[in-house]
Point group: C2
């Protein structure tokens, strides 16, 4: 398969590229790689798809949100989660639909914070929940046999030393175990799922 991986150089993205190394991978990200993309810009997403042409699968591991307590979260601070983690992912689907071959797939990324909330995580949780529900609803009417799933990672071991202070009592998982769920989404046959890797 010809697979576009957005956010390919990140902690999880690089593991996704490894577990999908049996395929032709196009690595996309903000800083070069095979193709540059800023998922917060519709035009940048369009330019990326125009540049790479048709693919069999689109995998996204990019997107962020600001950490802030709900008392300090302003509409402005919340906007990063809206533009990046939520709309960035959904626009990869809406704009990319015509670039995915019949029977192909999209795989997006949610996260544990929507199910097991942490302080300062409300904006990320909002984006995660929006993506999860979009995936479930979109899956019932995707055209041409195209499937769509999301993966919900726990905090990963590779980020633990930096993120431990936010995730008290969590048991981090190896990024490679998260990456396997993207492989299941791409190479398997399920649709409308949110794979929880907790």
């Amino acid at each position: 398969m010809r697979i576009l991986v957005v956010g390919a150089s990140g902690t999880i993205g690089s593991e996704i590229c490894k577990v999908l190394a049996n395929h032709e991978i196009i690595r996309a990200g903000r800083n070069g790689l095979d193709v540059s993309v800023d998922t917060t810009s519709e035009q940048s997403i369009r330019d990326m798809y125009n540049q790479i042409g048709k693919v069999d699968a689109v995998v996204n591991a990019a997107g962020g949100a600001n950490f802030a307590s709900v008392s300090e979260l302003t509409p402005e601070l919340n906007e990063r989660g809206i533009q990046s983690k939520l709309k960035g992912q959904i626009n990869l689907v809406l704009i990319g639909m015509d670039y995915v071959n019949d029977g192909g797939s999209f795989t997006l990324t949610t996260g544990v914070m929507m199910d097991d909330p942490i302080p300062m995580g409300a904006s990320a949780a909002m984006a995660n929940g929006g993506v999860k529900s979009f995936v479930k609803a979109a899956s019932i009417e995707m055209p041409r046999g195209i499937r769509i799933n999301s993966v919900s990672p726990n905090i990963v071991q590779e980020s633990w030393s930096k993120m431990e202070k936010y995730f008290a009592g969590f048991s981090p998982v190896p990024a490679v175990r998260v990456a396997l769920s993207y492989k299941k989404s791409v190479e398997g046959a399920q649709t409308g799922q949110n794979y929880e890797v907790y």
Copy 2:
């Protein structure tokens, strides 16, 4: 209690006002009522709160999203769900926090489409899921004993003749039954809940 009901003249909003009639209700909406507000505008939300002052509860029954199949859903069409049903509700909380008295509450609105998806409902489902997850995450760190919940209504009997074509096989519920969940949220003591009225 002094309760702000946004979207007070809608099908569900007007039933909410009835079941909360034992309180002082301030009815807000786009067209006059007690106070005017356009929840897609942060400034309009700020103006509303400045005008009404402190309240014990904020209830929101306003917010919409475009109906479109996922093949026809563009980023532009999806934007109504983002600005109105998602950000409109979350900004009522973020901007309104300082206007809610100690021990008060926010009650937002999600919807059945995130759990039981229908064709053309992906944008609404996205907004619903975002609000649900925000509520769950925000609830753990709301200041001054303020609670936050959402209500997830099924399609209501009062809208059935107009909406039946979209909701094949659904069994509509009376709006008054939906309204009771807002009363439970406002007068009860739970937080972080999404009351499904299916």
